[in-house]
């Protein structure tokens, strides 16, 4: 017998040490979020502590050089462009999911899925670039200047569409086959089956997909920065040039100092909080679904 006892003891001791080491690493990974929040807060503090938050909504305009920090036009642009993108990408994405599951022949569905996956991998700067050189002139023919809220909406919709489509695909794939067989056995038409059984059954997945897509659209920088025109103004029509919160940060960070820089961090903080709320909502939604 050469199985040593000492060796085993040290092994289980290694297990404990290993667990402690891993715990430290995991804590570090979890700490990143705290660090981000902390630094955003810290950097925005100069503005937050000597001016009330209403400042950001009641100032006459966004003129950092004159200490005017009205973010309303940019907030409006962010919300409008995300909403528009969601209105376009939502139905199209869900339709794509349905197409892959109930309409396309399997081979075509496979090809289509690959295409969508491919699109999900295209970087936002490429979408933005393509929007700038191809879409914007097209929109400009309708109504100059071309770089506008509408172009931003179109490019954003294109960008978040793969997210919606892939999550819809996963949600539809998770529907128990028995449900669909049951519906088919009742003699429902294809659309009857989809509207009556598939969509309600996949509801939670679809909604969380839409929430995630909203988060992406709100936080997207490059694509909108390149096609929205970046004029700080309250948009009156789809063809107006707008600047989103994210684009504003990207444009002004390079030279912002003092309060101006802090104001940009405040807008970053606001974006992060918006996304936090969306993640929370998606979470609550999913939890409700599991307990229902």
């Amino acid at each position: 017998m050469t199985l040593s006892k000492r060796n085993i003891l040290s092994l289980s001791l290694t297990d404990k040490r290993l667990a402690r080491l891993l715990g430290g690493c995991a804590l570090l990974a979890a700490l990143v979020v705290v660090l981000i929040l902390g630094f955003l807060l810290g950097e925005s503090w100069p503005v937050l502590h000597h001016a009330p938050l209403t400042h950001f909504f009641t100032d006459a305009s966004w003129h950092p050089t004159q200490h005017l920090y009205n973010v309303m036009p940019m907030l409006t642009a962010t919300l409008l462009s995300s909403l528009g993108a969601l209105l376009l990408a939502g139905p199209l994405g869900i339709a794509s999911g349905l197409f892959m599951h109930y309409y396309a022949p399997p081979r075509l569905a496979g090809v289509y899925r690959r295409l969508i996956e491919l699109l999900a991998g295209i970087p936002s700067v490429v979408y933005g670039f393509w929007g700038l050189v191809t879409l914007a002139p097209l929109v400009g023919r309708l109504h100059p200047p071309g770089v506008s809220l509408l172009t931003a909406i179109l490019v954003l919709a294109l960008m978040v569409l793969p997210t919606v489509a892939l999550i819809a695909d996963a949600a539809l794939a998770a529907i128990p086959a028995a449900y669909l067989r049951g519906a088919a056995a009742l003699g429902l038409s294809r659309w009857g089956m989809i509207a009556g059984v598939a969509l309600p059954a996949a509801r939670t997945g679809l909604v969380s997909g839409l929430l995630l897509a909203t988060g992406r659209a709100l936080g997207e920088t490059m694509a909108v920065l390149m096609v929205a025109g970046n004029a700080v103004q309250q948009p009156h029509s789809l063809f107006d040039s707008v600047r989103t919160l994210t684009a504003n940060i990207a444009l002004e960070m390079a030279y912002a100092m003092g309060d101006h820089r802090a104001a940009l961090f405040v807008s970053g903080l606001a974006l992060m909080l918006l996304v936090l709320i969306l993640v929370g909502m998606a979470d609550v939604f999913q939890r409700k679904a599991t307990y229902a």
Binding site: I8, L11, S12, T14, D15, L18, L22, G23, C25, A26, L27, L28, A29, V32, V33, L35, I36, F39, L40, G42, E43, P91, L92, A95, F99, Y103, Y112, L115, E117, L118, G121, P123, S124, V125, G128, F129, W130, L132, V133, T134, L158, L161, S189, R190, W191, T221, M222, L225, M226, T246, A250, M253, L264, F265, G268, L271, M272, V275, L276, V279
Partner: protein, 278 residues
């Protein structure tokens, strides 16, 4: 009946529309990008603000940034994934706190990462505008996706291995090293690939962390321009840079495509194996 037919038509139409738009996008990339693409484009330094010349230093910078990001994020995410899947129960408080914070991290907009990276790495840690700052910022971004895929991979490694190894008196570390990590390797590597793809596609987080300098970097402390930042700069700030922007975009898309399809084929392969052995 009418509704059914209408739905069929609409769904086929939307699928066709999406295909058309994307084929258009890709064709556009190819048509405008391919003519510029050549060995000299890949091997020369840019000149005339990027209108002429190639993208060699930019490819090197991109590679270095991604390398920094991966080498910082990979060990951390592997360790976290192992902790989440092997050393804590999914219902434990600790586990849930970590998972929740990663969920939030996954949703943080990239420009916010840029702000954070600028404030923390560039200024607070004094790394300045450098490849190191950019890479570390991207590491933070890539953490959630890498941890998630690795955790899922490890959690779906057969429980039998764990029980059996324990019944043979093997330590958890040994079971992990010899049985579970090999079983989950494809998922872990796929996660790595997805992390690389995410880092490579990023622009907004890099503008204020790794900077714009398009010279060949000498050290990690030099500022370096990533491919995506190069495209942005050519398109927005350089009149007449479109042709080179197209070619750079094509290079970036092809690189990401290769990485993504590697990841997905690994996952597929892994899934097939799992089905066959279970």
């Amino acid at each position: 009946m009418l509704k059914n037919r209408l739905a069929t038509v609409l769904i086929w139409l939307s699928a066709a529309l999406i295909c058309a738009v994307f084929v258009c996008l890709l064709a556009d990339m190819l048509r405008n990008g391919l003519p510029r693409l050549s060995w000299s484009f890949l091997s020369q330094a840019p000149s005339d603000a990027g209108r002429a010349g190639g993208i060699a230093p930019i490819i090197v910078s991109t590679g270095l940034i991604v390398l920094v990001a991966v080498s910082a994020a990979a060990p951390l995410s592997l360790a976290t994934a192992i902790l989440l899947s092997e050393f804590s129960s999914p219902n434990s408080r600790f586990c849930q706190v970590i998972e929740r914070s990663l969920e939030v991290l996954a949703g943080v907009p990239s420009i916010v990462f840029g702000l954070f990276g600028n404030a923390f790495f560039c200024i607070y840690l004094g790394l300045g505008f450098s490849i190191l700052s950019g890479g570390l910022t991207l590491a933070c971004m890539a953490l959630p996706i890498m941890i998630n895929t690795a955790t899922v991979g490890l959690r779906s490694a057969p429980d039998d291995y764990r029980l059996c190894a324990a019944a043979l008196g093997m330590s958890r570390g040994a079971a992990l090293l010899h049985l579970l990590l090999p079983a989950a390797a494809p998922a872990i590597i796929a996660g790595l690939m997805l992390g690389i793809a995410r880092a490579g596609a990023e622009t907004a987080a890099l503008i204020f962390t790794s900077g714009y300098v398009d010279r060949m970097p000498d050290t990690l402390m030099d500022s370096g321009r990533a491919l995506s930042v190069h495209i942005y700069d050519l398109a927005m700030n350089v009149a007449g840079g479109d042709a080179n922007a197209y070619a750079s975009a094509l290079v970036l898309v092809v690189l990401l495509l290769i990485i993504n399809s590697l990841a997905s084929s690994l996952t597929q392969h892994w899934l097939r194996n799992r089905i066959m052995t279970s």
